[in-house]
């Protein structure tokens, strides 16, 4: 039972992180390699707001989430918008540079020391008994609920809202979408905002559960195979990819060797790239190598 609980928690974490990769990629075909740093920045913003609004933890929490949303918008307007029309690889390189810049800036401002935002918000993180001797922390439970709510909200958004349909249209054929009057920049900006928001939520929850230091950015790299395995432009795929990667990781810790768990996500990824390079639910794309 505890092993199952461990898998569910890890699936929720990976799913929450990987949907940020998917949201941007499915709309713009840009792989945001600064996702981990943006996620981490949201957690540091929570820390800063926790100090600023001492005694008002919910204001700090909501503020950090809103700021992470705004961060995506600003990043697109200031930085990524200029990459429109350029080679996709250029945009990806910009995100790498952005990640390096953010990591450096975070260390300069907050140093590399370990923080515990949950203490600053004066919250506790007691375990919740699940029966049969299994337990998870309260924040882990909130992470599961948040992941489910996020994916449900995204499903409704893409299926039933005008902006969701526009976003899908831009993802499928930006030229045609633009000719039909869809504002491309507004759509891309929204995708960036949604991605930094969901990533920010993941970063905030991770920092509340296990503390915060600059190693958090690395966590996003472990969720990256989950997004790729599922298919980089499919939210459904992100869930399935997270499930496969998290299950393989936890079971390898439990029954094989903990050291294997570190490479298992990438092993799964390699196998998937060999068998079905576009992932379980991704769109088959042709790569022009000329």
């Amino acid at each position: 039972m505890q092993v199952a609980a461990n898998i569910v928690v890890l699936v929720a974490i990976y799913a929450l992180i990987s949907c940020g990769y998917v949201l941007i990629y499915r709309v713009s075909r840009v792989l945001n390699l600064a996702h981990g740093e943006l996620m981490m920045l949201a957690a540091y913003l929570l820390l800063a707001l926790g100090t600023l609004f001492d005694g008002s933890p919910f204001i700090a929490l909501i503020g950090a989430a809103v700021l992470s949303l705004a961060m995506g918008l600003v990043l697109y307007v200031v930085l990524m918008r200029r990459m429109t029309g350029e080679l996709v690889i250029s945009a990806v390189l910009v995100t790498i540079a952005l990640g390096i810049f953010l990591r450096g800036a975070i260390v300069l401002i907050w140093t590399g020391r370990l923080y515990h935002p949950i203490d600053q918000l004066l919250w506790r993180n007691p375990p919740i008994a699940l029966g049969a001797g299994a337990a998870i922390s309260t924040v882990a439970m909130v992470t599961i609920v948040t992941a489910v709510a996020t994916y449900a909200a995204l499903f409704v958004f893409f299926q039933f809202t005008r902006w969701g349909v526009r976003m899908r249209a831009v993802g499928e054929n930006p030229l045609l979408a633009a000719q039909r009057g869809i504002k491309l920049h507004a759509t891309y900006a929204l995708a960036w905002a949604m991605a930094t928001f969901t990533g920010g939520c993941a970063g905030i929850l991770l920092s509340l559960d296990s503390g915060l230091d600059t190693s958090m950015a690395v966590v996003s790299l472990k969720a990256f195979p989950a997004a790729l395995v599922g298919g980089l432009d499919s939210l459904r795929g992100a869930i399935v990819g997270s499930l496969i990667v998290a299950t393989a990781e936890v079971l390898s810790i439990q029954y094989v060797d903990p050291l294997v768990s570190d490479v298992i996500p990438f092993l799964v990824l390699i196998v998937m790239l060999m068998v079905r390079p576009w992932g379980f639910f991704g769109t088959k794309e042709e790569i022009d190598r000329e």
């Binding site: 461990n6 370990l114 375990p127 296990s210 570190d262």
Partner: protein
């Protein structure tokens, strides 16, 4: 009149000429190069050491320097990257005035630094990370270490402590990070535990990029361990402990006291969570701790409780430089460091004693701290215990 003036002028001119070289010499600094991780993965630990060395020698210079000479500390950020450490070391060894390289970063940066040190005869002081094996007897002539970390010795002490408080049947679990120094230390600890009649229930080797520690805690709990011993980067140690408590494990956990330990004991407030180490915590309120607090005021973003290791390295370096006759050379400094005893002023259980063969220290002193929930404060669970380093 003119003759008198001419005589006085000549005297003043001669005095000035005589004084000129002395004044120039007085302004010449002792040059020290520090390559540390200030923005990399170990910035939380090594960054504090680098900050402390800077702060300490700023104070020394304010007091007039050492033997009338200021100390110039050239600081470089190597981000714990071997390539950057190599480039820092090359810069340092090629500076003819530089006397010593101080390093404070992950052990992955040691090889290039040691290689440059050997080629150019520059001494290296390991001030922040784990001490390399080359400083233990028989020591490499150029390598010295002040930091508290010594994986195998630390593991031996932790096992001894557990044995002393749990003399009967006891099952012990070990937690390490999947890096050679941590894993090796805990494997050594497990072997020592078995030799002392303890049952080793489990050894979890946790990768550095771990997201959730619950799967590892699940295995430790299933192994029914009474004690867990850990020697790893702090985050691995504390997250493993917290994951165990989350699963309802009621055993005791003893782990290495990194510079963050004092803050963390106050946060965790669990009497079953013990830390052991070689540095005295600030709760002891020694005069030297007051000095550190006063010196650090407004000069670092790190809490003062992080500054122990850097301060120890700095007082050691100051003591060594004080004994080097002017003009200083690398060889003279090495000669001094080969026979040096430094009073730790209460920051450790005893002095650091370096000899020609031993550049670590002849004696190690360990203390165990824990949380006293009745008094709601940190307490010394076991006072200094001495171990010989042979």
């Amino acid at each position: 009149m003119n003759t008198i003036f001419a005589k006085r002028f000549a005297i003043v001119a001669l005095a000035c000429m005589a004084a000129a070289p002395t004044a120039a010499l007085a302004a010449d600094p002792y040059v020290v190069g520090l390559t540390g991780d200030m923005t990399g993965p170990d910035a939380g630990n090594s960054g504090a050491v680098a900050d402390t060395v800077r702060i300490y020698f700023e104070k020394v210079n304010e007091r007039g320097g050492i033997n009338g000479h200021p100390v110039q500390v050239i600081i470089r950020d190597n981000q714990s990257q071997p390539s950057r450490a190599a480039s820092d070391a090359q810069e340092f060894v090629n500076d003819p005035n530089l006397l010593i390289i101080v390093t404070a970063s992950l052990s992955s940066t040691y090889v290039p630094t040691i290689s440059e040190s050997k080629q150019h005869g520059v001494p290296v002081l390991f001030a922040g990370g784990v001490c390399p094996t080359e400083v233990f007897p028989p020591a490499n002539p150029l390598l010295f270490c002040t930091s508290g970390y010594a994986a195998d010795k630390d593991a031996e002490y932790a096992v001894d402590y557990v044995r002393s408080v749990s003399p009967g049947n006891v099952t012990v679990g070990f937690v390490s990070m999947a890096i050679p120094i941590s894993r090796g230390g805990m494997e050594h600890g497990a072997a020592v535990a078995e030799s002392k009649g303890m049952k080793v229930g489990d050894h979890e080797i946790i990768p550095p990029t771990t997201v959730s520690f619950s799967p590892y805690a699940t295995k430790l709990k299933a192994a029914d361990v009474d004690w867990v011993i850990s020697w790893a980067p702090w985050i691995t140690q504390v997250k493993a402990f917290e994951a165990l408590r989350e699963l309802g494990w009621q055993g005791k956990f003893i782990t290495y006291a990194h510079n963050v330990a004092e803050e963390e004991l106050k946060r965790i407030k669990d009497p079953g969570f013990l830390v052991f180490g070689t540095n005295a915590m600030f709760i002891g309120n020694q005069p030297v701790h007051q000095d550190i607090i006063a010196a650090a005021q407004g000069k670092t973003k790190f809490p003062y409780t992080y500054l122990n290791e850097g301060w120890i390295a700095s007082i050691t370096l100051e003591a060594a430089l004080k004994k080097v006759p002017w003009p200083p050379t690398r060889a003279k400094l090495v000669e001094v460091m080969n026979d040096l005893t430094i009073d730790m002023r209460g920051m450790r259980g005893g002095p650091i004693v370096w000899t020609k063969d031993n550049h670590f220290r002849r004696e190690l002193f360990y203390r165990v701290y824990g949380w006293n929930s009745t008094q709601n404060s940190i307490e010394v669970v076991k006072d200094w215990v001495r171990m010989d380093v042979k």
